[in-house]
Structures are given as structure tokens and as C-alpha cells.
Amino acid sequence: MSFEYIVKIFIDYWPMFLRGAGLTLLIALVGTVIGAVIGLLIGIVRTIPRPESKVKRVVLKIVNVIFSIYIEIFRSTPMIVQAMVIFYGIAMAFQIDMDRIVAAILIVSINTGAYMAEIVRGGIVSVDKGQFEAARAIGMNHWQTMKNVVLPQVIRNILPATGNEFVINIKDTSVLNVISVSELYFVTNSIAGMNFRFFESFFVASVIYFILTFTITRILRYFERKLDGPDNYTMIGSSLQNEKATL
């Protein structure tokens, strides 16, 4: 009976499953965070207003072209192919055997960065133009405007899309088995190879994938609500002390 086998496989191999799931989560989490940082940095640079000096304008133009090439290449090729090209490419170019976990995080990060750059750009464009103007009018430079006014709003706006990237990454790390990273898919494949119970082993894996993504989605929702702040505020002042004003 297959159900008994599912339970048995889980009981027999749970430490392996757990390690695989842990590595999957680690690669996806670190990759998404680094990818988001890459996306934010590219977003900040791409929205720098046209500089007055000609040299700066040319430099900025070149940098932006490089960013565009990066984004287009990584969005237009599958991550499974990127993994092979990057891992074996680095091995060939530098004659090193890269740590597989490091390689995995690197691949997921730059892949996510390409998507996040576009998400961040959308997030910055969606911030009201008046916010930029008010910041400029008060004397802020581009970086101060971004740090204090725009990015906090962008981060709130892109949080759902970033969560989505995280969930996609949890699932897509499975393709990294091609470079033998012992994440959940790779581990499951090994387990199935040992007992020849393919359905049962991968059924356990699918349940673990679901639990991971579902839990993370809930946690992110909670953060979104938290970032929105309370719907009411307290009035300060003698006559109105402790009075609650609501929306």
C-alpha cells in the first residue's frame, strides 16, 4: 500500500529531507534577498536624473546599457541553462571547482536580480511624481530622496512581487540539481534511487515544497499589513489626550 510507504519513507529518511529542504530554503532566501538588493541598486541608478556634466552623462549611459544587457540576457534564458553555463564556465575560466552552494546562491541571485530590477523600476515609476518634487524642493539630492522618501514606498509596493519571486525561487532551486546541489529535489532523487519508490518519495517532497511556500506566503502577508501601519493614530495635546482619532 502506497500510503504506508509514504509514511515509512518519511520516517526513514526525514533527516535527509529536512537537510534538503533547509538548503532549498537557504538558497531561495539568500538568493531572493541579494536579488532584491541588486534590483534596488539598479533601480536607483536607472532613475538618476540627467546629469549636467557631459562626462557623467556618458558614464551613466554606458552603465545603463550594461544593466539592460544583463536584464535582457537573464530574463531570456532558462535558469537551468544559466546554472550550467555559469558553473562550468567559471570552472573552465578560473580552473576552480566552485563550492556548489555558493554557486547555487550566485546563480539564483543574479537571475532574481534581473527580474527584481524590472519590478523595482515599476515600483519607482508608480511613486507619485510629487514625492520626488517635494524632496528636491527641500534640497535633497537623488540618494537622499531615494533613501528617505522613495525606497520606503517602493519596498512596500514591491513586497507582494518580491514574495512571489521568493516562492518561485523555492520551487526553481530544484533545477540546480543539474550542478549537484543537494537541495530538496536532488535529495529526493537520491532517496528514490535507493528504494525505487519514486511516487512515494516525490510525494513527500511535494508536501514539503507546499508547506514551505504556503508558510512563507502567510508570513509575507503579515509583514505587508505591518508595514501599512495602524489605521488610527493618537492625538497629542492637553484637551485631547488619549482621544483616538480614526480614519
Binding site: 517635494a134 524642493a137 527641500i138 534640497g139 522618501v149 492625538m235 497629542i236
Partner: protein, 246 residues
């Protein structure tokens, strides 16, 4: 009198379209100047050129004896000397009322957080919003937002306050509270440059009124002269049109 800002032969065009043509005027210390004129006359563009949110295409803006349109000038430093109040308030949505009034002081003027907060509280009480320091912009009405926006600009302790149609986006019942604050500020001797459609208000608070038409200053003078006895036919036409509506 000491000129705070002196605008000389200023022009602005978008491609072939000339929005401002040879504008000459100055604002003296402690003076309240209102700019009136029909929509599209260039008055908002003029105000936005003064603090360089729009880059003029020609002419000079003299501030402290220097032309700030010279390449080497630090525009961000200059902008801290001009407080801008926008038609659509543009409060920073991610910050509460106190944060809106301190962020510029701390980040740009490098004041300590403590000092910035005490200055912010002072100006928030000037506009009657000191009880709302914890509120986010989304909690406030239009009139309240605009009063906070005024306090935010005042907290930078600028030499001149620029108002770009500060009541045009407000519901009629909220116009009064904002105009009242502005009147009080005018009475304290603050230097103010106001673009407005509120003729009554302009007449009451201004030391000088500038009437703009089709990108040029058609006429400038005391409120009495502009509103009661305008020299130009187009000023008369404009006033007849707007006062009839109002």
C-alpha cells in the same frame, strides 16, 4: 530694501513653445508678492523656475548677489533657502507629520534629531497641527495636509516661501483654514511669493501684485492699483472674468 531674489530676463521654452518671455521682477525682504493670471499664463512655471524645479532656458536668477543659474552653483543648497508649498501638498506618504517636518532638517541641514523635532513642533503649532504629529498623511484632510506642508517648508527656515496655488486642490470649506494660516504668516513679516486664484486674498495680504498673461508680466503694482485701477486692458478683462465667477 534688500532684494532676496532678483529675476532678470528669465525665459523658458519647451521646444519651440515659449512659456515665459523676458520676465523681470524681484522680491524684497519681508514682502508678500502675489502672482495672478489665467490658467496657462505661465505663473506656476515661473514659480517652479524660481526654485529650479523647471530649468529656465535663459536669463538670470540673482540670489545673494550670485546668479544661481551658473553651472557651479549648488542647487540643493539653494533650494533649502526656498520653502515650496505645492498645490497637491506632496507630503511624504511614508512618514508621519513630525517625520515630514524633520527629514529635510536632519538629512539636508544636518541638524540633530532633537533640534529638528523642537523646530518642527514650533512650526506645527504655528499652523495648528501640533496635535497630529503621529498621524500619517493618509489620515489627514486636504486642509490639514496643506498646513503640514506649510510647516514642513517653514521648518527649513527659508528666506522665501513659495506657494503654488496652495488652495486650488482643496474642498471649498477647507480653503479658509489654509488662507488664515497664510495671512498670519504674512503678518509676521515672512517673505512670500504666492501664485493664487484667490483674488480677495491676494488683494488683502499682498504688498505687490503681478499680473501675468501669455508668458509675460503684463502689469505689476500695488493691490489697490491692480484691482481698482488697472492700467492695462487685459488686466481689466481678466479681473472682470474672474470676479464675476467668484
Amino acid at each position: 530694501m534688500e532684494k532676496v531674489i532678483d529675476i532678470q530676463h528669465l525665459s523658458k521654452s519647451y521646444g519651440a513653445h515659449e512659456v515665459l518671455k523676458d520676465i523681470n521682477f524681484s522680491v524684497e525682504k519681508g514682502e508678500v508678492v502675489s502672482i495672478i493670471g489665467s490658467s496657462g499664463s505661465g505663473k506656476s512655471t515661473l514659480l517652479r523656475c524660481v526654485n529650479l524645479l523647471e530649468r529656465p532656458t535663459g536669463g538670470a536668477i540673482i540670489y545673494n548677489g550670485e546668479n544661481i543659474l551658473d553651472d557651479k552653483h549648488d542647487l540643493n543648497q539653494y533650494r533649502t533657502k526656498l520653502g515650496m508649498v505645492f498645490q497637491h501638498f506632496n507630503l511624504f506618504n511614508n512618514l508621519n507629520v513630525l517625520g515630514n517636518c524633520t527629514v529635510g532638517q536632519v538629512q539636508v541641514l544636518k541638524r540633530s534629531k532633537l533640534e529638528a523635532e523642537s523646530i518642527a513642533r514650533k512650526y506645527l503649532s504655528v499652523v495648528g497641527m501640533e496635535q497630529y504629529i503621529n498621524a500619517k498623511p493618509k489620515h489627514l484632510s486636504g486642509g490639514q495636509k496643506q498646513r503640514v506642508a506649510i510647516a514642513r517648508a517653514l521648518s527649513m527656515e527659508p528666506d522665501v516661501m513659495l506657494f503654488d496655488e496652495p488652495t486650488s486642490a482643496l474642498d471649498p470649506e477647507m480653503v479658509g483654514e489654509v488662507l488664515k494660516v497664510m495671512k498670519e504668516l504674512a503678518n509676521t513679516g515672512l517673505t512670500m511669493l504666492i501664485v493664487t486664484h484667490e483674488m480677495e486674498f491676494a488683494r488683502e495680504v499682498s504688498d505687490r501684485v503681478v499680473f501675468m498673461d501669455k508668458g509675460v508680466i503684463a502689469e505689476a503694482g500695488s493691490p489697490e492699483q491692480i484691482f481698482s485701477n488697472p492700467n492695462e486692458e487685459r488686466t481689466r478683462e481678466f479681473l472682470k472674468r474672474t470676479l464675476k465667477q467668484g
